[in-house]
Amino acid sequence: MRNFVRDLIGKFRGKCDYIEMRIEESTETSIRFSGKELETISTTAEFGGCVRCLSSGSWGFASFNDLHDIERFAEMAAAQAKLLGRQRTVLADVHPAEEEVALLLKKDPRGVPLGAKVSLMKGYNDLINGYSREITSSLVLYFDRHHKIWFGNSEGTNIVQEKMDIAGVCSAICAEGDKTRSQRVMFGSNDDYSCAEGLEEKVEEVCRRAVLQLRAPKVKSGRYTVIADPTLTGVFIHEAFGHLSEADNVYENKRLQELMTLGAVYGSEKLNVYDTGLRMGSRGYLKYDDEGVPTERTYLIKEGRLVGRLHSRETAGLMGEKPTGNARALSYRFPPICRMRNTCVEAGEVSFEEMVRDIDLGVYAVNTTGGETSHELFTFGAEGGYMVRKGKIAEMVRDVTLSGNVFTTLKNIDAVGNDQTLYNGPGGCGKGSQTPLPIGHEGPHIRIRDVIVGGE
């Protein structure tokens, strides 16, 4: 296949400024319990490829399932790029790579029989459904995906990369009258099936919390000092700053560039943020991105100042910055765009107890239900939380959804915890139609002043 890619690129090299090709083969096993029932059990096999051509600054892209058609699609991609191209082509220089990236797995899910995976998930599902009468339903999801991707471009890069992606969730759902509450434990990894094993205690904890949530009042709407737990910190930084750091927002946007010059102050001095492709164990682990660029640890914020952004070769080239290996595609059906990998708030020095101690009235928000951003404004949901009153964790509350503004909220982080947790869940990052892309988060507890909390 590597030669096939090389030969085809050779054939089309002269027809545009740059050409690349990806062929992807993947298999997936998926198990989904809903209530007491095994709702879905499936195996899928995908095979397809794509060609992307760059001509005078515009791209032509064609994806296909039938490899016999590849030359027709390559012609089409080259013609489409030519049709749109009106300006100069610039791609940041990258040393051509030739490598076969093999998997380094701790425990390979492909070695676990389907029946054993079903039994493991059934165990969790039975645990939830048998926990107490308040729990009326459940959702237990597991999947593993194996990808093999061949990549080549007209500059001589020729890579084969294998990737593994394992993730899932166990949710307990309570219903009483017209009230419905759910709580969940999530897991995920790029290299270890064990992440799905031994979750019984966590599942029981989730059940306990779900039942308590039935009685918990809604949080009162307003502005609060909020402590985000490490899971929520990850989603917070992903939405609050990660997406804004994706250079495809900025590279042809002069006004945003003025706001986002390197060195600009975005956070308090306590804040350090990076995005990395090199965190083994994270679903965002990646040796090479989908442009064949090796990944790295890319600092976005150091001591509150903007120091970097997440680049594709095009955005790095046009901004005169270094490519970072952040061009990622959901699958062969999509062109790569600037995306995060594993995004991290670096641990600080404050203990959780110290953070709580000097809050008069606040919210401790735990776990995540996801988030969304429009760059300036962003929102992130917690699965639940606790009020903090006079320096102590007080009663449980539900439906804690928080909102912030990129120009103020990061500066309002006044304490960064001394703990650090890697978070992987079964969801992923969404951008345009490329959802869900596997990513990870990592972070400590953080304390943020003056956060809008929606509620009653």
Partner: protein, 446 residues
């Protein structure tokens, strides 16, 4: 190919099977930063296979038609671990039912024409304001769906799809404003210029930011905000959530669940609706039905799997929808999904409703709605695009604010008015037609 797959499934031990075949080409021009950035073309070929072994269900899917044998084997293995179901695969093979889903005009559109339409949209928005960076996409698709099963169903339909998104971003000091509009249908013409005009009028009213105090307000939800919130009801009428006991309206058939002012019709055969089809992704016929009649719950969305459990016939709501993109996909097994929803218009004009609000908010675009506990109806979302109403007039954009409440409570007890104007709103694989909805006492947090 479908026969071959069924044959292989039988050979591996399947008692019954069903093959869903999807084939199509989709192409689109994409623009960002006010220039044409890329032209994409995607060929999609794939099959989804469901098998029953002693009534136990297994599923497999592949885009690699060379792996039909492996898919059949995998699906049967899944079925051996699978759950017993009461599914009975439909036998009849209906025709296309007279609905028009194909348009030669869409098929004939050339890449150059998509690019020209995009250039016109960019030009129009930038004519209004050069500083706006225009983004969006204009695309078309030609799709074929065929379903065959071991009960003798074998039927197919073709559908053309045309869609456009036109939006713009304006950075003004530390103020980042996004406005966009979308359209999709099965037939041409697509009036991209009209979308551009809507975007311009969105920008016109959003340029001035105003403050607002938090608290309960009278709110107008625009058609697209209404569609986003009615996702709650989609979960509520989903047969699976009813069967699992997690839907709060599980026992409310024939009871009033929403305001008497609200009548909701599902029309799987809607003219020019992208969610329209002669039959669903399991072969059950689609039709028009009332979901909510003057506030009273009248029907649920039921697929072949949930039908026997709820002891009702399948309603033509078994679709294979990718849970993230919301599009039809051979990779997803069927589940209960509502199709095109039409919320019936009221009697008052939008202008009249607006003129009667002394202090209120128009909610147009919300962010993070999905992070709430939607099953129960509780939502809390950031106001990405919302306006303050003062003495019957829009006075400016409000931001750094949230809207929250319970869907069932607001749309049962607090509906003040429903506009007589309606708009088409595309959402995933559906085309919805919604009016403006006005409700009182909706919590706004600032």
């Amino acid at each position: 190919m479908l026969d071959d797959m069924m044959e292989k499934a039988h050979a591996y031990g399947a008692d019954e099977c069903e093959v869903f075949f999807q084939e199509g080409t989709v192409s689109a021009v994409r623009f960002e930063d006010s220039r044409l950035k890329s032209m994409d073309c995607n060929q999609v070929i794939g099959v989804g296979l469901r098998v029953l072994v002693e009534k136990r269900l297994g599923f497999g899917a592949a885009s690699d038609l060379g792996k039909i044998r492996l898919v059949a084997q995998g699906a049967v293995e899944c079925a051996l671990h699978g759950e017993k179901t009461g599914i009975s695969l439909p036998a009849s093979a209906p025709g296309a039912g007279g609905i028009r889903l194909e348009d030669e005009g869409v098929r004939k559109l050339k890449p150059e024409e998509l690019a020209e339409a995009a250039t016109r949209a960019i030009g129009r928005v930038n004519q209004y304001e050069r500083g706006i960076l225009v983004f969006g996409g204009i695309g078309k698709g030609d799709i074929r769906i065929r379903i065959a099963n071991s009960s003798g169903f074998d039927s197919e339909y073709r559908k053309t799809v045309l869609w456009a998104t036109v939006g713009g971003q304006l950075v003004d000091g530390k103020n980042i404003l996004y406005c966009y509009r979308e359209w999709a249908g099965t037939s041409a013409p697509m009036e991209v210029e009209k979308l551009a005009e809507r975007v311009i009028s969105d920008f016109r009213v959003s340029r001035v930011n105003v403050e607002i105090d938090g608290g309960p307000k009278t709110v107008i939800f625009t058609p697209r905000a209404g569609v986003a919130l009615f996702d709650v009801l989609k979960l509520g009428v989903n047969g699976m959530n009813v069967e699992k006991g997690t839907s709060p309206i599980r026992n409310k058939m024939g009871e009033r669940i929403l305001s008497e002012k609200l009548t909701l019709v599902e029309d799987g055969l809607l003219e020019n609706g992208i969610g329209s089809a002669p039959f669903d992704d399991e072969g059950s016929l689609l039709r028009k039905k009332t979901v909510v009649d003057h506030g009273v719950l009248r029907s649920l969305a039921v697929d072949l799997r949930t039908a026997p459990k709820l002891n009702v016939p399948a309603t033509g709501n078994g679709f294979r929808i990718d849970r993230y993109t919301g599009w039809q996909s051979y990779q997803s097994p069927p589940s209960p999904q509502s199709t095109n929803w039409l919320l019936m218009p009221g009697e008052r004009s939008y202008e009249e409703i607006l003129a009667n609000i002394k202090d209120g908010v128009i909610v147009d675009l919300m962010m993070g709605l999905f992070t709430g506990n939607l099953l129960s109806g509780d939502f809390s979302a950031n106001l990405m695009l919302a306006y303050r109403i003062s003495d019957g007039k829009i006075v400016g954009r409000i931001k750094n604010a949230m809207v929250s409440g319970n869907f069932y409570q607001i749309f049962r007890d607090n509906v003040v008015a429903v506009s007589r104007e309606t708009e088409r709103v595309t959402e995933g694989f559906r085309t919805n037609v919604f009016p403006y909805l006005c409700a009182k006492g909706v919590m706004i947090s600032t």
